[in-house]
């Protein structure tokens, strides 16, 4: 059971990475990062079947941290929208050089 679970989590992680690298919308990028974090959570849960409860504890921490990141991240996205009227990364061009 562990093999397929790890493979599935690696696929999800790869989808997240591809999303971050190809998309330009800040919100979609953020959702892709969340997908990556949850892919890792899946790995932890699968591996804790081998190594005991440590992996499951880690998942709780990761979910808490992801929630804190989401709170800060969405606030930043709103701040950017107020200034630029868009959350498209291609439109953010104040910092160049």
């Amino acid at each position: 059971m562990i093999g397929p679970a790890l493979f599935f989590s690696a696929c999800l992680f790869a989808i997240g990475v591809m999303g971050v690298l190809t998309r330009r919308n800040a919100l979609i990028l953020f959702m892709c990062v969340e997908l990556m974090l949850n892919a890792v959570n899946l790995s932890f849960v699968a591996l804790s079947k081998l190594h005991g409860v440590g992996g499951q504890v880690f998942v709780i921490f990761v979910m808490t941290v992801a929630a804190a990141e989401a709170a800060v991240g969405l606030a930043i996205v709103i701040a950017v929208f107020r200034h630029f009227r868009t959350v498209d990364l291609g439109a953010l061009r104040l910092l160049r050089g």
Binding site: L6, H83, F84, G97
Partner: protein, 510 residues
Amino acid sequence: MLPFDLAIPSQLMQAYLPDIVLMGGGMLLLLWAVWRPESEAHSRSVAFLALGVCAAALAAVIWSWRMAFTATNGPVAVDGFRWASDVVILLGTMMTLAIAVDFNARMKLVAAESHVLTLLAASGMMLLSGARDLMLMFLGIELMSVSVYVLTGIDRRSGRGAEASLKYFLLGCFSSAFLLYGIALVYGATGSTNLITIGERFTTPAVSEQPMMLVGLALLLVGFAFKVAAAPFHMWTPDVYDGAPAPYSGFMACAVKTASFAALLRVCLEAVGPGSEKWHLALWWLAAATMVVGNLFALQQRNVKRMLSYSSIAHAGFLLVAVTAQTPEGAAAVVFYLVAYTLATLGAFAVVVALNEGKDGPADIGDYAGLWTVRPGLAMAMAVFMLALLGFPLVGGMGFFAKWYVLQAALKAPAPQTKLSIILVLATVVSAGFYLYVVMVMFMRPRPEGAAAPPPSSPMLRFVIATSVALILVLGLYPSPAVRLAQHSTARSFAPAAPKAAAVPAAASP
């Protein structure tokens, strides 16, 4: 004195004393900061209280250091290396707080919570520098990063700040996910998140050559490379440092880097060990690429904040040379280097703040033309910082010795890093091109007609600049006590791990 038994809560608390002081002080200060209505005076008082909390944490660190506490293998390391890194982190934090007071007054920025966030970021860094468990390492990195994302965009009126904050946030989360996946795979291969336990199991080829372990270590290294801004994972750095408020650019360049390097060194020395050739090779290329890219790109910058950000990338490369040595001497060289680097870089950002006239825009090098004629003190201080970053003998103060000890550690390692040392020296020669350019502009270019003299700095800012100059010069004249302290404490921190790592294969081979 008996080592702390970290399974007993009261002794665990004692091992965490400085962190508890800083974190608890930070939380109480948060209550105080939002208790009173927002005003400039209140924001200032919060900043001074934050400096007080830092000083208390520093006292706790020094006390624990002097008592020479040790601990059993547990989630947190209690050793000289942790205390030394904590001192550098707190030094950077206190300088940042002091610069931020002046910066906020110039920009008419009222944000009492920014000083609290600085404290919370610092407590994440201290958690990181002492973490001997990958779980705590992840929590420390996130506490540090999330606070710094907010600090980057703390000036809500600034579009540049918002853009920098978003870029930093997205790339920071992206890199954290890599780090986390690395941790998950290392956990899967070794069955533990404790660095010492990982180190013990890593010595068996069945574990160290396992694909899951190799991929895990590679992802871990990518995550760290993002955090310390090593090429080719440095792309976010110039934009973020340029858009962030100058005190927090300095904070990111110094304290964040110090904490990340402390964690990376602990992983290198306690978990992976010098045995892994692939890990070593990856570090080697990372160091070489970072030195070359950082210095070459810095040459073409005409914006001082961007130049300093590429300079911080270049210095990450120099520090990685000492990490590549994978010896306790290398760790000592890193700590000493980070002291010099923190003083010089935050000092340089303090000068950037001193020349700011309350406008939010790029720090153009043209503003520095003829600074010698209008503000000789500032020009001299900036010259010392630039020469220290360059590693110039005598006038560059401890910057020269910092590079010297890194070279020494690299050449004396069991596998001498001759090629890397040659690249380091060549890269330093290239770096003269942009550090000396700033000095040349300040002293030799005429002041443009009609350019107003920069506004006077507050006593606080002048104190920060003068103290950093003094420390750089004094530690440049008498480096040996500080160096001996760094070498002594790191040698003791990592000494027990080395023979144990060597003993395991000997016992396993018959």
